[in-house]
Symmetry: C2
Subunit: 432 residues, 2 copies
């Protein structure tokens, strides 16, 4: 039955069967974990931090082998950096697990209670989701993050990291599973998928019988691939084509500070700004100096004709449709002069990815229009798009930033990993 469900050929049914068995183990573990007390889950998290440091040498040795192999394969420097663990980084990761202990347990909370007209007392109580599959790239810190947040929320996790980090992930999950064992929680609540076959992902995302949620974390290609194949619910994360709109009534200095921060503070992340929109009234006075600043910060500029005319000395590259639609994730910025806030809203509606959009203006009225009309995860008045972040928001944790509208939108804290059930306390109620 399960094989039929997948609509996939049974050519590698052995792989399928092994993966299915792994998710089944996770499901059994999740049922035990759903009933675990906050104290026992927190004790397990404490142990996870301890075991990570106890296993330091094994983890770092495994990581060194992964790095060696990745280097030989020609992995880019920025990706190598994300793969690399050091004693200091492991300390930070372990401290991150400990920080999760201090967060309130979102499970078993009475979210609402009321009485029905038939006298039945109702309770809406938060519960875990069950089994969560994480599909991600060669970032060992995600392995620990995902495991600690899922255990805190009473879920089991099936980790499918990149094959480039397999040795590191194996060493890390060994430590984490030992921590569960020490704490008398089911070790199968943390599963590492060691199969490097690409089919493994295709199979996992169609195991509706045992998997409750798939979270892909990585580039647009990875996310799209999962979305195309999954029959299990997916939370889409990541792609952000964010804008800063500098209104005619903007405070020029604030606009400069926000634009520089939104573009250059960390250009490789999803909440950095990719296009700057400038009201035509403020452009002649403000934009030339802004463009010079950006140029000095090493930003490659792509501009509309009017923008280019304002700073001919910078040899700004002519912007085309692709520039408006592209998430550069790099020190590149598209710049467009617009007639008014309406044109800015229209541009963002057409090209944005509903992640984070910001307006800089002194006008409360214009700001209110922008904040109401823009359809995005986060809309800001006089602030950098870079602020969209679970830690900045005070959630104390972040599983990712959802760019979809269902279930969880924006920075996802612990609550995003919960569901709820209705409990009815009756005394014989029936339907008439």
């Amino acid at each position: 039955m399960t094989l039929q469900k997948t609509n996939l050929s049974a050519q590698n049914s052995e792989l399928y069967a092994q993966l299915f068995a792994q998710t089944r183990l996770a499901q059994h573990a999740s049922r035990l974990l759903a009933n675990a007390s906050s104290d026992s889950k927190n004790a397990a998290l404490q142990q996870m931090a301890i075991q990570l440091l106890r296993h330091e040498s094994l983890i770092l040795e495994a990581n060194a082998l992964d790095i060696e192999q990745a280097t030989a394969r020609g992995m880019k420097q920025n990706l190598l950096d994300r793969l690399t663990l050091t004693p200091a980084r492991l300390q930070t990761i372990a401290a991150g697990v400990e920080a999760v202990v201090a967060l309130p347990d979102p499970i078993g909370v009475t979210l609402a209670s009321w009485q029905l007209s038939n006298g039945m007392q109702m309770e809406k109580r938060s519960v875990p989701l069950g089994v969560i599959v994480m599909i991600y790239e060669a970032r060992p810190n995600v392995t620990v993050d995902a495991a600690s947040l899922t255990i805190k929320t009473g879920n089991a996790v099936v980790l499918r990291g990149s094959s480039d980090a397999l040795r590191t992930n194996r060493a890390i999950t060994k430590a984490l599973r030992e921590a569960l064992q020490h704490s008398h929680l089911p070790i199968d609540a943390i599963q590492l998928v060691e199969f490097t076959e690409h089919e493994a992902v295709d199979y996992l995302v169609r195991m509706n019988e045992t998997v409750d949620l798939v979270i892909p974390r990585g580039g647009a290609g990875l996310i799209q691939s999962v979305l195309q194949k999954s029959t299990v619910p997916v939370i889409e994360t990541g792609v952000g084509n964010c804008h800063v709109y500098v209104d005619s009534e903007a405070d020029p200095e604030m606009a400069t500070r926000i634009t520089l921060n939104a573009k250059t503070q960390r250009p490789s992340v999803c909440n950095s700004t990719e296009t700057l929109l400038v009201h035509e009234k403020i452009a002649p006075d403000w934009l030339p100096q802004m463009l010079t600043h950006l140029h000095e910060h090493g930003v490659e500029l792509h501009g509309c004709e009017r923008t280019r005319a304002l700073a001919p000395q910078l040899a700004i590259i002519p912007a085309n449709q692709d520039d408006w639609a592209t998430e550069y994730l790099d020190l590149k910025l598209a710049v467009k002069i617009v007639a008014d806030v309406e044109e800015a809203i229209e541009h963002i509606t057409n090209y944005g990815t509903r992640h984070t959009e910001s307006i800089v203006t002194r006008s409360e009225e214009t700001a209110a229009l922008f904040l109401q009309r823009i359809d995005a995860t986060a809309v800001y008045h006089n602030a950098s798009t870079r602020l969209t972040d679970g830690f900045v928001y005070g959630f104390g944790a972040e599983i990712g930033i959802s760019t979809q509208k269902l279930h969880a939108r924006g920075p996802m804290g612990l609550q995003a990993l919960t569901s709820y059930k209705y409990i009815g306390y009756g005394n014989g109620q029936i339907v008439q």
Copy 2:
């Protein structure tokens, strides 16, 4: 680009293009509707009720033609009944729309507000989802329900009903769109898909660029088909293999009343009970008479060996694995005697579909164990499984009953058709 996304052959690209254009119109309308006031949305709902009655003769004529054709095609009586409209039924449907007016508007609500450590004031505000595709069977009342609830929540809806109800749906949506026009809301917020090709569904559920949510309503086949093909988020509704567990400490009379209600009050719906589990201590005294009652109510009984031995005169059909797993949706009941609440929980965990599960017992302790351990949308102590319903719950509306854990679980009221966005009011905040 869009055609590539679907991974479908372009053999019917004309159909695809037309459907895409329809969802694009819905998307444009949804953006206007997202900013409509509660008053204007309510005025439109009032108009919808008025126009439905004004169009009565056209709607009933169209319905008569649909019924004639469906009868000729050999449609079953119970399905014909669901397709049939009468003046009285149309009155009820119009009254249902008016009832939605009275419900609070769930859009534009401040769900939370707080200040970040950097001083930025944050607001989490409810917003519409956008464009919702409904895929459903030959039930004209669903056309009106879906349209009224989506307009109330500021969403646009694309309706894909059964071809058996096409004439009726056409007449109804004509009335509803006229109501929008009268109220100066965008008529394209209600779209009827008139293409009867099966491919139309396959295309619609992959239009991620223009569609935010797909809700399939109907049998398991329809829902599974949508789930298998959709890349747009889906809310799974409907399948309910529900249980009543009669504990050793049950009040016998209450257990009888609840069991009869749960099985016989309306056996064709998802929250009716399909399997009765009985504690072995109460079975000899209570079960024989219960089985006789059920038999007298025309219920076909499938029982375990011990159940059959308790009522040999009823010639109970031997139950097999399939009986435990089947949602009969009919006057049929599987009956099993279990050793204790643990076995009942295990049976429900193995065979249930996480819809609604009920325990009948006087023991608070046993009830608490059952309510905590059972993973289902709704768990009841001393009440009929039939109570899982948006109206019974007091939601004032029901789009369906979600059997998944993400976004919305259980009876879905207006809130299930909403998302939220984060709004940040800053004074120059950047990330350090």
